[in-house]
């Protein structure tokens, strides 16, 4: 039985198959409309995340399956002090597959070790968020036509931003990628990631100014500074509006550069950018559903 804990759980070849399947789902949704009839997805969300949870639920419903679960730790047995290990043993009796989000890092891995059904890590603290990464990869592959040979800028909270950490880990396996890390000093990319890049001979640069690097980027991945990752409100207030992508800044970018964002967006992308054809973040949300559909089918071993 397979689980998904990190984007690296799948080989590059397996990811290619997954993305081909997602693209086929995009083109022929009706072919997959009953693929999961009678199957149940449990969404165990120990911290609120409407977007990811709804994306998983939409994916399962599109496949003809059903969903059950909880969306906040207070409404679950965790509030009574039940461990993750116990919860997943029980959920294994109710559902065929489980998507778990947890504020503690490594919680889905603990669940997977005790589970009788496939577990998908739907985000664990500041650690990993593999389905967001699969979404990002599918969006890049579908819209750019390739995974590799580009310069990607990652901007905002690179310290706590799990989407960024997961994406970098996944992109490391493709050829010819140059990373540009754009962040304030306090939210710099952690050393364990730059260490890995150095070990693999992958080039990167760290800058503070977004404007200065705009012309060289093929992709710009914007992130939100997340309040829930800070222990200190003062730091959050000081850093939350450090970067704002505006139409003026977009003028400096290449005509085919794509802007990605895991959403929700707050102030970091001005709404005037939404109408720019290079703004890909809402299409990205749609690709998120397709890739989750492909993932559910793959983990359940269902061939259509």
């Amino acid at each position: 039985m397979r689980h998904l804990m990190s984007p690296l759980d799948f080989s590059v070849e397996e990811l290619d198959r997954l993305f081909n399947l997602a693209n086929d789902i995009e083109k022929n949704p009706e072919k997959y409309a009953h693929a999961c009839n009678g199957k149940k997805l449990a969404t165990c969300f120990y911290e609120p995340s409407t977007r990811t949870r709804l994306s998983f639920e939409a994916a399962m419903l599109n496949l003809g399956g059903s969903v059950l679960g909880f969306s906040d730790a207070n409404s679950s047995s965790a509030a009574k002090g039940e461990s993750v290990s116990d919860t997943i043993r029980v959920i294994s009796c109710y559902a065929d597959i489980c998507a778990m989000r947890h504020p503690k890092e490594g919680a889905p891995m603990v669940a997977a070790s005790k589970s009788r059904i496939p577990v998908i890590n739907a985000g664990d603290g500041g650690h990993q968020h593999p389905t967001q990464t699969l979404t990002d990869l599918l969006t890049i592959r579908s819209m750019k036509g390739r995974l590799g040979n580009f310069t990607i800028g990652l901007c905002g909270d690179l310290k706590f931003g799990r989407t960024v950490h997961s994406l970098i880990n996944a992109l490391m396996r493709y050829e010819g990628i140059h990373f540009v890390f754009i962040s304030p000093e306090e939210l710099k990319i952690p050393d364990y990631i730059t260490d890995k890049l150095k070990e693999n001979g992958i080039t990167y640069e760290e800058v503070i100014s977004l404007e200065s690097v705009m012309p060289k980027l093929d992709l710009l991945y914007m992130t939100r500074v997340q309040r829930e990752r800070f222990f200190n409100e003062e730091d959050y207030v000081r850093l939350k509006d450090f970067y704002i992508l505006t139409a003026e800044k977009m003028e400096k970018a290449k005509p085919d550069m794509l802007v990605l964002h895991p959403l929700p967006r707050v102030n970091e992308i001005s709404v005037e950018v939404d109408d720019d054809p290079r703004a890909a973040y809402f299409k990205q949300a749609q690709y998120g559903v397709y890739v989750r559909m492909a993932l559910i089918l793959t983990l359940l071993g269902i061939n259509v």
Binding site: S83, S85, K104, G106, H127, D195
Partner: protein, 148 residues
């Protein structure tokens, strides 16, 4: 010169970095074992200037070599039987170390999940870097604590 007598059976840990023997005493769980321990601190050493030595009288199976390797793999381990050194053991970095060091990341699942062992996995052999199996936090000797 301070003299500490021979031990009959057990082990002598030599070339411990000066000042580290007390930490090692706790890391090896010697405070919980019923055995005689001699701790020699700041002994003169030709090689190291100053060093610590631990002499432990107990069954040799009681020594967790993995812990020693993680704390400092330059320590010399002499196994003693019938008052004589019968073997010098080489320390090898373990792939995984379980239930010895505690993950200090407050966001790690090990901070709340009952009965979950703290496990560190060797992530980089050259740099001797261990990371928490669950959250990938780097194990740092400076902030280490012993799981009680």
């Amino acid at each position: 010169m301070l003299n500490v007598g021979k031990i009959e059976e057990g082990f002598v840990l030599d070339h411990i970095e000066a000042g580290k023997s007390l930490t090692l005493y706790y890391n090896l769980g010697l405070d919980k074992k019923d055995c005689t321990v001699a701790m020699i601190m700041n002994a003169k050493s030709g090689k190291m200037g100053k060093k610590d030595i631990l002499k432990v009288e107990c069954s040799i199976e009681d020594l967790n070599m993995d812990i020693l390797a993680v704390v400092d793999h330059n320590i010399t381990v002499n196994v003693v039987k019938d008052g004589e050194i019968v073997e010098k053991k080489e320390l090898v970095l373990p792939r995984e170390i379980k239930g010895v060091f505690k993950c200090k990341n407050p966001r790690c699942i090990t901070s709340i999940e009952q009965g979950l062992p703290h496990i560190f996995v060797l992530a980089d052999e050259k740099k001797e870097v261990y990371r928490c199996k669950y959250c990938e936090e780097k194990y740092s000797q400076r902030v280490k604590t012993v799981v009680q």
